[in-house]
Every structure is written in structure tokens, then in C-alpha cells.
Symmetry: C2
Subunit: 718 residues, 2 copies
Amino acid sequence: MIELADRRAGAAKNTPAAAAAAARVAVPPRAGTSGAQAAAPVVDVAALGELLLGKWADTRRTARALAGRPELHKLEGLTHTEHRRRAFGQLKILVENGAVHRAFPASVGGADEHGGNVAGFQELVIADPSLQIKAGVQWGLFGSAVNHLGTAEHHRKWLPGIMNLDIPGCFAMTETGHGSDVASIATTATYDPATEEFVVHTPFRAAWKDYIGNAAVDGVAAVVFAQLVTRGVNHGVHAFYMDLRNPDTKEFLPGIGGEDDGVKGGLNGIDNGRLHFTHVRVPRTNLLNRYGTVDADGGYSSPIASPGRRFFTMLGTLVQGRVSLDGSAVTASKLALKTAIQYATERRQFNASSQTDEEVLLDYQRHQRRLFTRLARTYAAGFASEQLLQKFDDVFSGRADTDEDRQDLETLAAALKPLSTWHALDTLQECREACGGAGFLIENRFASLRADLDVYATFEGDNTVLLQLVAKRLLADYAKEFRHVNFGVLARYVAGQATGAAIHRTGLRGVAQFMADTGSVQRAAIAIKDEASQRALLTDRVQTMVAEVGSALRGANRLPQQQGAALFNSHQNELIEAAQAHAELLQWEAFTEALGQVSDPDTRKVLTWLRDLFGLSLIEENLSWYLMNGRLSMQRARTVGDYINRLLVKVRPHALDLVDAFGFGPEHLRAEIATGAEKVRQDEARGHFRAQRASGDAPVDEKILLARQAHGTRAHGA
Amino acid sequence: MIELADRRAGAAKNTPAAAAAAARVAVPPRAGTSGAQAAAPVVDVAALGELLLGKWADTRRTARALAGRPELHKLEGLTHTEHRRRAFGQLKILVENGAVHRAFPASVGGADEHGGNVAGFQELVIADPSLQIKAGVQWGLFGSAVNHLGTAEHHRKWLPGIMNLDIPGCFAMTETGHGSDVASIATTATYDPATEEFVVHTPFRAAWKDYIGNAAVDGVAAVVFAQLVTRGVNHGVHAFYMDLRNPDTKEFLPGIGGEDDGVKGGLNGIDNGRLHFTHVRVPRTNLLNRYGTVDADGGYSSPIASPGRRFFTMLGTLVQGRVSLDGSAVTASKLALKTAIQYATERRQFNASSQTDEEVLLDYQRHQRRLFTRLARTYAAGFASEQLLQKFDDVFSGRADTDEDRQDLETLAAALKPLSTWHALDTLQECREACGGAGFLIENRFASLRADLDVYATFEGDNTVLLQLVAKRLLADYAKEFRHVNFGVLARYVAGQATGAAIHRTGLRGVAQFMADTGSVQRAAIAIKDEASQRALLTDRVQTMVAEVGSALRGANRLPQQQGAALFNSHQNELIEAAQAHAELLQWEAFTEALGQVSDPDTRKVLTWLRDLFGLSLIEENLSWYLMNGRLSMQRARTVGDYINRLLVKVRPHALDLVDAFGFGPEHLRAEIATGAEKVRQDEARGHFRAQRASGDAPVDEKILLARQAHGTRAHGA
């Protein structure tokens, strides 16, 4: 054990994870640990913590230190007015700490650092999701639009004020009538060559900008998205910089009006609101004209000829929001799991297996299932999130910025963001319930985080719509490239698409073996728990689902529009399921790749159990598909649940290590039940009863008295 | 159509459902309705609405009228202090309206009416869940404990003040250390014959009463649960009436202390808190002694000799809370579905099937799947809830009050409350997401209701613990009665248990046919959609799961305690799944029985589709089980999804009727997007573009221009 203690203490000693690990080495076995033996593997918590911090570990550490400061924390129980005021003040603290300028051009004092910027942003969710999203509105959306859609003059003119918060602003894209279908927004910007101005106008109520952060109170400027019309031609959606309010009086400028969206289900530190424009004139040069410009006479020109491609290129800069939310959702899941698992190792209820001691919650099978399956998915989502962030950085840094790279990035973000945000909501809720009434107290944060993260499933792209985008991409590629090719080629295609890494050429052979297999239960279990088999099963499902829908939809484009749409719609559910299967495969691949980066064999062993738990959970969730499609025999399918149960038992002794590796300190967790207070209470209670039993003063239980009397009667009678 | 209009107008004209139906007859087909034809069935909304109101329809109507009054509505955005004050004030309005006294004895001005009392209570969730639960604490728990555990003298002394709110009180059972395991609470009440008093004492921190409603601010008295100790014997948990605070100063009486639980994830109109007692003396006569009493000398006596049975009898009165929450959760699901489905018939996004008109959301297959499967389950849960309430009334009125009746009632409540409360959370969330950003605004109520109902999954019995209670009951009965009997007898047993109605004797034969069947896809589909086949499949699953776990656990009681507990624990997950399957079967049976009460053939037809959608959804969710256990062939299993998709299309034209039948007026819905405002906005937008197209002033889309130019170039070149 000394060697282990040394190894642990040696690595990154100043992290909370390392401190927790070091503190723990002295007192094995942990209270409530079951099945731990001398030969059991030991997780190198500090090294695992480093791995989880990823490529931008230092940036994350800096951001976490900031997020741990009390003045940035969410105060519960504020009115939305108070919370808004607090969040705005917190933005200034971020500015003072240089926490939000990494992505801006060096020319205006930024660092042109895209991946690191998002990594730092993702950690802000720990302090207060409202603060995070308010910062996201100001710098990730409003500032980012000026940065990516504007040109040098725009940068020089507005970015300094945006960066230092002199210009709090809005990203005014969504309208009451159009959220997901941005191309159909109805606000117009019509060029008037007489004055060299655009006239921005809201034609009807549904075209009001809506749900716009900073719009209700703080925004003095906005990037407004509108249909650009010049010389009678609508060139599609473009972005315009516009002053909204008098910076001193905060009153709307002439022609501009709005409403407060009021209280929301969460994120009440952000002042979302509505905006409308009545023939508001903005200078021609306020068009953010990187991808399309209008000359003084009203002539339109663009470096991108196709209006469709131009639109998607402009919107492509939005991918940053999806990447940001993906990792933030994973961080929230980690917070919840650390608290719930910590509590579950201390909390006791019911004494099934002893006359005196109650069971620790985490020793209950169902409790393990509830928490460990989600822990496994959180690890998978975290590794996938890191891959997405690196891909994002490659593209935005220009290192790998082809059209295909951008499309891959967008598909990856559209696949991962829905899964991680839904997973965060699911995990926060399950952890809330797993902690019972204590989970519902705001002091333990589950309910607060869940309320705030709810809308992460909707903004920056509705999850269901995003998954359709993924499905359509899978399908379009399938129809274009693979209409007449055999299944094997498609297999390679999807595997390549899925991992962005080496193609798993043997996948289909593995599947064929499965299908032929009718062997013993034991052999079946070995096959399922094998990494190659998990990969084959998960990959095959994506391939087959895409191919089946693709084949069912073949020729849809040649039908009259209405019939084609109806045919497509009749397969919408399958399409979304295929996209989800694709995204889950990506997560599984990311987890599996990460195993290769773990050098400590013990740690790799435990993480492999966790990866298997994730893989087997995915297979169990879709077991009917594997059975219906002849991929698993009845006998083999019946082993999945048992094998999952065995994995739960294996993971149990390492559960605390696996959540300690997330590296949160008490200043990040801020949950009463994650402080060890429950253990103190339980120890006090057990001490009381132990002392009472020893003293002989304990009242006799009526049940025991009756049993004694019955025994006495029988003995007497005998 | 005239006959239909007459029929509709004839029935219960003054309900909102009837008014909505009458208003609608004039304007078929409804906007966005797809697939409606002249011969399509028409739902009799008014008659269906009456059926849904159930046995206590008049009481529900009265309670809804009250719940529609603005002074009882939740105000959003209040601090928890303000909300608490408002909720307390609202309780007085309930008193003034005689809304909460139905269950109390006639001797003190009540009506001895148990079912009606709960029916009325369930409707209060419409006004504000905080108000509902605060009323539940005062009259359903505190008052009910005095009523059911106390005797005539207690009733005379305290019930009038409890009923009129002169004595706001607490139900102090749960402790920080023990929630689910009430038998292990650690507060003691030790009898002192010298003064004829009980000494109530909190021995350690974990024994503080916690999460107690009314404890932080309002409660001046409490029913405190404690281990009754007299003459050195602990007779188990008993209830004691205790004064808590000086009614004038609201200060704690000597020896009593407490804490505020603070802000919670929801229900912030209730002042939950903690209480502790330091040798607090209460008169001997304050023991609520219906089931156990102590004479002046300290002699204990009870009409129930077995301490175990005595404990469960006392706790049995708690079943009222579970019954109450079950129906309340269904009501909340109905509110959400009415709003989301109404909005989905008006909201448009993307124009896949037309150049000019966007699709109505409810015509998207995925949207139908998200909302209609939950609508079907809500109907099932509602009919099951009504059966539970009637059973509750039978028992508590004394009409059918044997031990077996009580056990059946408790098992039924423990089975249904988890499913309906989880379903409400799932439905509120899905509806929230299905309405996008609008769903997140508090003005549309999803997020508010969801936050408040969150803890319905925990209090009055944690859902997971309740399902284990059900499983243990199923298993205990199985082990006791059917250890050596054949499968057929077990089949009848479970079917009888499930429905409380006629035994489905042909069930197993039907299942055998399924297992033998390898027929065509068409035959398979017919078999699955058949009522008897659904029943056979669902029943068979419960039977088999219980039998399998029962057989695996055989002999567990003869093992040493620790090994027995470990064996039990290794099947905990299966046990809970078996209990859930049982509860779902109960819901399906209740829905099926309700179909027999629908006289209008059209309505019955549509409701049968909805019941089939529920049944098939259950089978789809557990499809892997049916496949692994040879109950469905691969071919047949593959038809389930398709058949569900076809049912969605059939239900689509009736979706609005099915939610209008819930009978909510705008004063109950109180959601901006349920007002028809979206339709007004959509009509205005479409009118704008129609006029623009007609005028010839519309700007030309660049895409169309490019297409024209390309065409012109080609024409020129030819």
C-alpha cells in the first residue's frame, strides 16, 4: 500500500482529487465498501483526474478556481430581478479576471484561442448556470457574431467594448414564430441607397425577436438577424449590428420596442426578452459583411455563390454554442454524481442483513444500477465531449478547416449535444430522487441545477431537431455515395464516420459470428463483454438502421412534394432513433479510445468495467432490436442483465474514486450532503445505540419480549 | 353532423368541455387535421368528460370552480417567504368555502366522506401545488392523524381548531436519519407515572424531525411520532399530540427547537422545517390511543396484539396521502397535455410538404409519438386512479373494511402512486420540450408544475421503496399460497389480484398460441392489437417475472441473515421491474374496464385506439422480454412499432377532443400558449405573406432568381 500511496501523492498534489485520494489511502477499507479485497485494483485518482481534465487542463483549473469563488456563486431564493442584477455584476468579475476573452482576435487583445476558451466557459456552470449563459450571450453569441460574421473594421469598432462589457448586447436571431427554422425568420432589412441605410422592420407579431438574453434589461446593442433585401431581391438571413438602448437612460431608441419574457423555469439571472423594430434605420456599414456585402448603390456580393451554402456557413459559427453546452452538461452530471454517490456511501436505511447495522444505500443493487449506469454514461459523454472540443479547436484555429471538417464538426456537435444535455437532466433527477427528501432541498443543488439546465435541451438547437439533422446527414451521405454499393462499404463508411479514426474492418465478420452463434450461455457472456463484440453490435445497429430507412425512403425525392414529405414523416421516429444510436456509438468509441491513454493497469481495469457497463447498458436498452434483427440469440440476450449486475458489483468498491477523479472541491460541490455530515450523523446514532446496548439500559423491544414470553411458555409447556 | 351537434350540446352544457365541443362542431375540419374524413368517428366530448370526472363528479366540479379563482392561484416569482405567506392565507379561503372538511366526523361538523374529500383535494393541484400540499399537511396528515389515531375525546378537543385553522399543525414523523424506514425512527416518548406524562426526547442529530411541513413558521402544534417506552419496554412507534409554539408569539415552547429547511426545488409555499425535543413533557392523554394506550400506572394495552400488525395498522391511515397524490399527478399530466396538444395544433415550423404553408407540429410523427403515447398513459392512469379512489372510499367508509381489503388498498396505492407521479414528471418535461422555448417560460406553467411535483415521487412513500413493497407482497403471497401449485393457478391468482374483477381464465391459452405462432406478419399484427392478446401478454409477463424471482429466492429465509439479504439484494432490480409490470397491468385493466362504460360507439372506438396505443407501448417498451422469453416471434415483434405508428395517425384527428374532455377552462390552464394566441399569430403571418404575394411586391428570393437565371441560360443556349 505504501507504493500506492506514494504514487498517488506524487501526482498533481494540489488538486482536490489528489487531496481526496491522499486522505483516503490512510483509511481503507472505506465504510460501506463491499467485496474489496487485498488483490482488488486501486484507481490512481490523481492521474485519472488529469486525464479527465483533457487537453486544456490548465485553463480548466484556472476557470475552476474562479468558479469556486463565492462572489460568483448562485444565491438561491433571490427574486429574478435580484438574480439578474447579481449575474450582471458577476460578468464584470469575469472581465476583471480575463476569463472570457481568449477566443477574440489578438488584434483587439484576445488570444485567438478557441478550444481553451470553450473549456474555460464550460467550467462556469459550476458557479451558476445563469452566469454561464449570460456570459455566453455576451461573448459567445453577441461578441462571437461580430467576431466571425464581421470584418476588421467591425472588430476594431465594437469588440473592445463588447469584451470589457461597456457594450452589453443581444444575439437577436430567434423570433416568436421561428426558432428551429432560422431560414424562415421574418424580420427584414431592406437597403435604401438614398441614405445608404438598411431599414430593419418587424412585419407582424410572430416576427418579434423572442427569448433573447440581455433584451429585457441590460442590452444596449444587438446583432439582429434579418432577411437582407436589396434591389427587390431577398438574399436570405444576414446579421446587422444595431444600437438598442440609450446607454445612460437604458430607454429603447426610436422605433425599437420590447417586452420582458418574465420568470422562466430556470436561468433567472438572465433577462430574456422580446424585441421589435418599426422601420429602424442602421448604417449600411453595420451589416456584418464577412459572407455577404452590399455596396453603396445596393449591389449585393458574396464570396459564397450558393445562398444555401452561405446561410449554413454563417450559421456554422453557432456550433460553438453547441460544443459549449455539451461539455457544460457533462460537468453538471459530474457534480450531481459526486454528491449522490458520496451520500450513498454514508447514508443507511433498513437493516436487512444485520440486527444492529443498517445498509449503506450504495450496497443496494437498485441504487447501484441507478447511479453507476449514469456514471458510466457520464464518463463516455465526457470523453466524447473532449474529442468534440479538440475537433472544434482544429477547425476554428484553421489547422483543419476544410468544408468536410466543418461538416464533420457540425454533425458531431449535433449528435453529442442532445445526448449530453438530456443525460444531465436525467442524471440530476435520478440523483435528486436517490437522495430522497434531502435531494429536494435547494441546499443540495440538484433541483437548482436541473431547473437551470432544463433549457439546455432546447437552446442552441432543439435536441430533437438536431438529431434529425444528424439523421439527414447520415442519410444524404448514404443515398449519395452508397446507393449501389454493398453492405460492407457502408459498414466502413459508418465506422469511419463514427470514430474519425481507424476503420474497424472486422466489424461485420464479428456480427456474422454473433448471428451464427447459438452456443452456451457462458460463451455468450464472454462474447458480449468483449470490446470487439460491443463495437460490432453497436456499429452494426447504426449501419442497419440507416440502411433500412435509406432503402425505405429511396425515391422519396421523385414523388410529388407532399407525398415525399409524408413518406419521410412516416419514418421520422426511426430516423431520430438511428441518429441517437449513431451518437451513442460515438460516445462508446470515445470512451474506448480514452482507455488507450490510461497507463496505470489498475485504473485501466476499473475504467474498462465502466466502459463495459456503458456498452452493455446501450445493448440492454436496445435489446429488442438485436433480438428482432437476429443479432443476438435468446440465450445470449438473457445474459446481458446478469452481466450488468456483475459489473455493478465490480464497480462498487471504486465508485468513490471514480467520482473523486472529477476533481471537485467543496467550493464546487456546495451540497450539504456531500460534506460528510451524513457520516457524522450516522456514526453518532450508531454510537448512541451501541452505548445503550452496552449499558444494559436499553428498553426491551416489545417484539423480543413477546418472543421470549412465547419461548418461555413453550419451554414451560414442554 | 346535426345529430352529433345535438348530442353534444345535450350533455352537461355548462362544462368547459361541452362548450369547447359545441364551439368546435361548427368548424370542422380543424386546422391541421390530417386524415379526417366524413366517415371518421366523432368523440362525444361532453359525455367523455363526465366519465373522466368519475364517481365524485359534482365534488370535483365544485373544487375546480374554487381552484379557478385567482386568489388561490400560484403567483410566480415570489420569494419563498412571500409564497409561504400567500399559501397560508389561501388555506383560510379553503376553510371559508368548506372545501377541506368532508372527511372529518359528523360529530365535529365534517361529513365522514372519504372518497369525495380526496377527489376535491386532488383538484387543488390546479390552483397551486403548494396550496394543495399545505392543505394536505394540515388536514390530510395532521388532522387526519388526530382523526384516525385519536379517540372521541381527542376529536372533540382538537379537530374543530384544526378544521378551522385555529391550530395550524405538523405531522412530525420523518427524521433526518429515517424517512422510508419509519419503524426505526429514534425519537422516544418515555412514560413517567410519577407525573402521568410522556417525556419526548431527541437522542441525537439524526433523530431530528425533518422536511416537516408547517414546522418552520406556521405550526403551533404537531402530531409527533416516537417510540413509546413504558416500564422499560419499547412498544414501537406511536403518535402524540404536542403543542409546539406559543400561538401568539410563535416562539417555540421550552425544550423544543428547530430549523428552517429553506428554499426547495419546488413547493416553496410550504414552510418545511426541522424539529427537536429535549425532554419535553406531554400529558399521558395526549397519546393518540386508538391502537395502543397507557394507563396511569404505565400499563400498556392495545386492541392489536402483534406489534408488527399494530404498526402497519397505524401507518395504514397514511394510504390516504398516496391515493391523493396519485390522482393529483394525473390531473397535472392532463393540464400539461391539454396545453401542449392545443399548441401543437396551432404552431407551425418548416414547410416540407408545401411551398407556402408550414407544417403544424402535431402532424409530425415524432411529435405525435411524444404526446399521444403520454396521452394514452394519462387516460390509463386516470381510470386506475378512479378505481383506487373508489377502493379507498369502500375501505374508509367501512363498507368493505376487512384486513384483506386494507391490504389490497395499500398494495394498489403503492403500485399506482409511483407510476402516476413519475409519469407526471415525464409528461410535464416532454410537454415543456415539445413547446420549445415557450415551454420554458413560467407563463406556460410546465416548468412551474414540474418543479412543484418533483417531490411527489418521494413523499408519502419513496416510489422505489413503494414498488418494493408491492413486489414483496406479490412474492409473499406467491410463496405462501403457490409454492407447490402449477402455473395455471398462479395465472388466475395474478389476474385476480390485478383487476379485482373477473378472472381471465383464457389468458394462458392465448399466450400458448402466441408462443406457437410463427405465422404471417399480418396475422401477427391482428393478434397483437386484439384486447385479449394484450391482456394475455401483459398478464403473462407479471406472472412469469414473479414466479421466476420467487423461484430464485426460494429458501432465502432459511439462509443466515446476511446471505439471505444478499440473495434478495441480487434480485432487487428484477423485483422492482416485476412490481412495475404489475402496476402497468393494473392501469391497462382499468382503461379496458372503462371502455365498457362508454355507450357512444364512436367515442368507444377512439378510446379503444388509445387503449391499444397504451397496451402496445407497454409491449414495445418490454419487447426484449417478450422475445427473450419466447412470447413473441421476431416477425411479430417487428410489427409492434408499425402498428403504434398507425395508431398515432388514427388518434391524430381526435387529439384535441381527447384533451378537451379533461374539461379545463382557461382559469385552470392559465398558459399563454393554450389561449389560441399562437393561431392568431400564425394566421397574421400567413395573411401577410399571402397579401404580399398577391400584390406582386414581394422581394424575389435569391435562390429562385438563380434558378430562373440558370434556366434562362440553358434556354438561351438551346
